[in-house]
């Protein structure tokens, strides 16, 4: 699917989930460096879970995610619901400057040039003049713009965005999409959870369609087809509390000791669409 350069992210038969129930089931695939991937699928399809897994916030219950070329911390992750405390007395400038952590750490001061970069990041998201405003006084869209500005300053080669356009007006969405396309042009790898298929068709060259089971991964035109979408809808069913353990025959078994019966080896082919587990 993606020849040429070695992948930035290699996903090997990955299963992620909660309480042993898989939310991402037997996903394999390579994401090349510089890719702009839209992660799509119905609610509960495991899109956020996949991003959490790549960000390292969720331990796989099977398979693995390899990112050989990526230094730890070289990843910027924008969760869907941050844990931001809106009543905390910090200014917009301070919040955006937090994106410079990798450069200044816990003790370093901000140089004049870094202050300038904070202001430029705010300007890039259309929030010049908001520097001194308390973070709690921002609207939802403005807060999202500020989070994007902070993300820009993190200067990460891999960027994970979890539904960055949820509850955001169309003008802000357009601005944020332009930023994402800019990052793509700069050669960064971007994975974004998106719901608007029109947007995906227009802007995202690559698409990963999930429905707990991986449905399709590849060029957007081949993924966003009525057949694929229909299949994704069929697959999205509720957790079955009494689901039996998943025993899919695996060729090579390299199980971590505590993974139990639900761990899977790799190199599994993903065509068991109607498989119940």
């Amino acid at each position: 699917m993606h020849p040429a350069p070695p992948p930035l992210i290699r996903i090997e038969n990955l299963t992620l989930g909660y309480d042993r129930h898989p939310a991402v089931h037997h996903l394999s695939g390579d994401i090349p460096a510089g890719a702009l991937v839209a992660v799509i699928g119905p609610n509960g399809a495991g899109k956020s879970t996949l991003l959490k897994g790549i960000a390292g916030e969720l331990r796989p219950i099977g398979g693995r995610i390899l990112m050989p070329g990526l230094l730890p911390g070289a990843l910027a992750y924008l969760p869907q619901r941050g844990e931001i405390d809106h009543s905390f007395p910090v200014s917009v400038f301070d919040v955006v400057a937090m994106g410079l952590w990798r450069e200044i750490g816990a003790f370093g001061g901000l140089s004049r040039q870094q202050r300038q970069r904070v202001r430029e990041a705010l300007a890039a998201v259309g929030m010049s003049g908001f520097e001194a405003r308390p973070i709690g006084s921002l609207s939802g869209g403005q807060l999202q713009r500020a989070r994007f500005a902070r993300l820009m300053l993190q200067d990460a080669p891999l960027i994970l965005l979890d539904e960055p356009f949820a509850a955001i007006d169309s003008r802000t969405v357009d601005d944020l999409v332009q930023l994402i396309l800019g990052w793509h042009r700069e050669g960064r790898t971007v994975l974004t959870v998106v719901h608007d298929f029109e947007q995906v068709r227009r802007h995202f060259p690559t698409c990963l369609l999930l429905s707990r089971e991986p449905v399709a991964f590849g060029p957007t035109a081949q993924v966003l087809t009525p057949e694929m979408l229909a299949r994704a809808r069929r697959l999205s069913e509720a957790f079955d509390e009494d689901a039996p353990e998943c025993h899919i025959e695996q060729p090579a078994q390299a199980l971590p000791p505590d993974a139990g019966p639900h761990a899977h080896g790799h190199a599994h082919h993903h065509e068991h669409g109607s498989h119940r587990h």
């Binding site: 960000a55 916030e57 911390g73 990843l75 910027a76 992750y77 969760p79 941050g82 844990e83 931001i84 405390d85 905390f88 007395p89 910090v90 200014s91 301070d94 919040v95 937090m98 952590w101 990798r102 750490g105 816990a106 003790f107 308390p134 973070i135 902070r150 993190q154």
Partner: protein, 302 residues
């Protein structure tokens, strides 16, 4: 602050007699004043962060949690500063870690597990003290002895204040980020647990410090009340910290004078003045209650 406010409309003689003489004439009042200054500088900034992290009640719970440790020190060595201090610190750390463990390993949230620990600790502490002690000692432990600070206690309180200021300076940025957006801090660095547990250690240290001066029941008063009052006035964090320290020290001075002239216990007097500042702020401050009742000011153009 308090002093200058009063001076504006008072006779100079009264000013000296009521406000200065207690401190110039009596060494124990000067020591108490120094103790209050140290507490205001150390414990109150910690209280500001407790307040911002919505952990005010947790601070209260932890202040009770140090009691059985201090009581065991007391049981073994009598009213010994070192033994009660170390006992209190150890007990505080044990309860913090135990509550953290229970929170992570069970379905109980942190507040529930702390409430359980602190109730048990308070009961155990009072029981242990009364096993051997006289009622006077129990009063000392519960309400402190800011008017009887000896060299050792004063040095301890001042040292803890210094350590606290140093640690807060070192931890400031990670701590602010841990309060404001813990998920973000976890994502980009390993400082999150350092900030969290380092901060809890500071809380324990300052509760022990406050415990010597104000007693276990009121140590939290000088941490939380000035912070809450300052939060109603200040919009930025630096202003909030500064104002809280000023409120705490001002309340300390006023409480000591109240205690001296009205012959009431100093610890409760200080905390009551803190409470007075809080209620006045609650009414008058921009973040308080009366603002909503005032006529609406004409809005700005943009």
């Amino acid at each position: 602050m308090i002093r200058s406010r009063c001076a504006a409309n008072a006779h100079p003689f009264i000013v000296t007699e009521f406000l200065l003489a207690p401190f110039t004439d009596f060494a124990f009042m000067r020591r108490a004043l120094a103790g209050c200054l140290a507490l205001a500088l150390g414990a109150t900034p910690v209280g500001v962060f407790l307040l911002l992290r919505r952990m005010s009640l947790m601070g209260d719970a932890m202040s009770h949690a140090i009691l059985p440790g201090a009581a065991l020190g007391y049981l073994a060595f009598g009213l010994s500063l070192g033994a009660m201090t170390i006992g209190g610190i150890v007990a505080g750390i044990v309860v913090v870690l135990a509550a953290g463990l229970v929170t992570r390993a069970s379905v109980l949230k942190e507040d529930a597990s702390l409430a359980a620990f602190y109730l048990l600790s308070l009961a155990a502490g009072v029981m242990i003290v009364s096993l051997r002690g006289r009622n006077l000692d129990l009063l000392h432990v519960l309400f402190g002895s800011v008017l009887a600070l000896d060299d050792g206690s004063l040095l301890l309180i001042a040292s803890i204040a210094s350590v606290t200021l140093f640690c807060l300076a070192v931890l400031f940025r990670p701590l602010v980020m841990e309060c404001f957006d813990p998920a973000f801090l976890r994502g980009i660095s390993r400082w999150s647990p350092v900030a969290h547990y380092g901060f809890l250690m500071l809380v324990v240290l300052n509760l022990v410090s406050g415990f010597h001066a104000l007693g276990t029941l009121m140590a939290v008063g000088i941490m939380i009340l000035p912070s809450a009052a300052a939060r109603l006035w200040a919009r930025g964090l630096p202003a909030l910290l500064l104002l809280a320290v000023l409120f705490a020290f001002g309340s300390g001075v006023a409480g000591l004078l109240l205690s001296f002239h009205a012959d009431v216990p100093a610890g409760p007097a200080i905390v009551l003045v803190c409470g007075l500042v809080y209620f006045v702020s609650l009414l008058a401050a921009p973040g308080g209650l009366l603002v909503a009742r005032l006529p609406v000011r004409h809005h700005l153009e943009s």
